[in-house]
Amino acid sequence: MSALLEVTGVTKRYPGVVANDNISLTVNAGEVVALLGENGAGKSTLLKAVFGLVKPDSGEIKIGGTPIVFGDTAGVIARGVGMVHQHFQLVPVMTVTENIILGGEPKRGLFINKKAARDEILALSKRYGLEVDPDAVIEDLPVGMQQRVEILKALRKDVKLLILDEPTAVLTPQEIDELLEVIRNLAKSGVGIVLITHKLHEVMAVADRVVVLRGGKLVGATSPKETDEAGLAQMMVGRSVVLQVNRTEAKRGAVVLEVKGLQVLDDRKLLMVKGVDLSLHSGEILGVAGVEGNGQRELVEAICGMRNRESGEVLLKGVPTKNLNPHAVHEAGISHVPEDREKHGLISTYSIADNLILNQFDQAPFAKGWIRDLSAIAKNAVETVAKFDIRTPSAFNTASSLSGGNKQKVVVARELSEDLPVLIAAQPTRGVDVGSIEFIHNQLIAARDKGAAVMLVSAELDEILSLSDRIAVMSGGKIVAVLDSKGADRNYIGRLMAGLKE
């Protein structure tokens, strides 16, 4: 019997970059193959080639023994290949049912048989133990649920090979555990699975084999039995990566930012931040730990002027920052790495150079009066791209051309460029590869050492533990504890995050 997927010598060049360089790999039924690689290592290109969405310059891709034809996505799907994309391929304004049946609608005469469709979705969700509401509209669902819809969409077509592209990047820890369980069960039932992720412990937990890409080349194949997380990281980056951050003792200074009795509503007008008190000192990193959706986003947005405050105040060096817009908050001395880089961090159609100066576009040296100084902007761009190791053929390409990790580097580079007294970093390493994480972490430490007060909000408890000097645990819209990170107990914090009392 031939392999489910057989990739032989695939090469794909883009202007200025070789995305895939002579890549070969196979996937068999019932196994989980983890595909690892930094952002921009060529994983996405390879997968698009498998689906016939990208035409390789050379090489061959076979599914179940027969080669695929470029452009014949429908044919690839028909042969039992399903994919859960990193960016969900769901129509936000349509229902779960409509999204799942799209492309293969059950019919009654000329019309769609909506009842049959609905019944089918219910049966499908029952069969795989993935509960969904068939009538819910996608944009109203949390991301974990949206992903479930994506998986069901793939499963509906009787997949033999399921490709998951960074499926856990946006999930909460509980949702991740559930997903890994689903993956194991699917493999047991004979489905071949390709898992792309940056989270090495997930690889160790579910993968049978691991294939590593770097700079478009296949640099190694191994299995979790033969290596460990550090070994995998080293293969990905090509040098040894310190997964544990090295940091010196904090030189804690005066209080810079004070949050007093802050209450904030969320988009649904529900009270999400229920009276938060926090003080942030210069020269320290305060980690805000918590399961996502416990008010962290609203807290950050309220501090940064992106959301109205219901009550309470935020003092910057003793001065209230009431009713300031985001620009004024920034002028006052708070820089912000927003949680959603696509929406709030970058203007994706602008060049990298322009994105790097979004916060200072109207100030010297980037503007002289009303006129922008293009040469100063260009000089800054070239320097920053080199300093922050932003991987791009040119600093004048659009930000949308960058991979996730490099986009994040652009945001971090911009926000750190002015040495403001306060830095608020929300989920700064979400969906970012190991090498970039290390780099961003070091930048945060460096900012702290220069005397900035850093607030780090993250759903990754390991990130909080390794970077923070103090840890504030947020649960149910309140800060339930503030701990010194020295000797902090992981399990204890986990319990606090889950909302359990002592």
Binding site: L53, T73, L90, V91, V93, M94, L102, G103, I112, K114
Partner: protein
């Protein structure tokens, strides 16, 4: 959400029905004739809005509707004169509409041009061609005559308003209703809307984005041809420079007002038609003692007010105006 829309539609209908019934009791003849005229004003706008809906629902902005109406009405007129057959005129107008649409699709789908520029090209092309070839003093051999539908046309009020028109008017209603059901209850509709909202989602589900865009834009062109034919062969009967007088652009506003829903756009067009017919009636009666120009702009003013009120709340198809690049996003 859906039930909310339906309930709101019901209230709108009620808000029209009650005063209409009152007016009908007051003076049945005048009310019936105002509504009947309103339908003839509304139909070309509604059909033009269907052209927009067909295109925009799959993500193609078509601001060339005005040009399509202008050229198809022109072609319908002269083809009917040359062949002495209004039916052939109608068919050639439809073909012309499809041809213009294919040009739009070529520019915006295949060449990935800016769609506003592509639409503007259609408008300029139509204005140029029609002005150049226009000859004064031609007469149509005949027109599409009023053909009351047996039975239905005897219903009081509705019979006169809806069922005493020409063939093209009836065809227009069929097109609008078909489009409504097709858009929301068939595979084609689901796929079209998906392509207009999130093309890569459709693509990864095995739906060909460019093929569907080509097909829908082409069908939109045919509807444009029907609209142009109706204007010249059934409603007016003659053609002069600038014949369509901005109907293609008004239709875009009505499409937005109707939330890219065929029935919504039809209702919006009826609202516009009614205010125009009502204004005319007021002028004829001499009820109002203000210059006729002010009465003439009344419908436009009402559309501006209504659009301004509803503008912030509408949500166009998300992928509108963006060329689709395979393998991105």
């Amino acid at each position: 959400m859906n039930s909310l829309v339906k309930r709101r539609g019901f209230y709108y209908a009620l808000a029209v029905a009650i005063p209409t019934f009152y007016l009908y009791l007051q003076s049945s003849n005048v009310t019936t004739s105002v509504f009947s005229i309103a339908v003839t004003f509304a139909m070309p706008l509604a059909l033009a809005a269907m052209v927009g809906i067909m295109c925009e629902r799959t993500g193609i902005v078509n601001i060339g509707i005005e040009g399509t109406l202008l050229l198809t009405s022109f072609v319908a007129f002269y083809a009917a004169i040359a062949t002495k057959s209004i039916l052939i005129g109608f068919c050639i107008a439809m073909a012309t509409g499809v041809a213009m649409s294919l040009l739009l699709a070529l520019m915006s789908v295949t060449w990935k041009m800016d769609q506003i520029i592509a639409g503007t090209i259609l408008n300029i092309l139509a204005t140029g061609l029609t002005s150049f070839f226009y000859i004064q003093g031609n007469m149509l051999p005949n027109m599409f005559k009023q053909k009351p539908i047996p039975g239905l046309s005897n219903i009081p009020f509705f019979g006169d308003v809806l069922f005493k028109h020409g063939v093209l008017m009836y065809l227009g209603f069929v097109v609008i209703l078909t489009l409504y059901f097709a858009l929301f209850h068939t595979s084609w509709g689901l796929r079209s809307r998906a392509v207009g909202e999130h093309p890569s989602a459709a693509d990864t589900a095995g739906v060909s984005v460019s093929k569907l865009r080509y097909i829908n834009v082409a069908v939109a062109g045919a509807i444009g041809g029907l609209c142009g034919s109706y204007l010249v062969l059934e409603l007016v009967g003659s053609w002069n420079r600038g014949f369509t007088a901005g109907k293609g652009f008004t239709a875009l506003a009505l499409m937005i007002f109707g939330r890219w829903n065929p029935l919504g756009a039809l209702a919006a067009a009826m609202f516009f038609g009614l205010s125009q017919a009502g204004a005319n009636q007021l002028m004829i009666d001499g009820t109002v003692n203000i210059p006729p120009q002010f009465v003439g702009i009344l419908p436009y003013v009402m559309v501006i007010i209504v659009l301004a009120i509803s503008a912030g709340k509408v949500r166009p198809p998300a992928a509108e105006g963006q060329p689709y690049e395979k393998g991105q996003g």
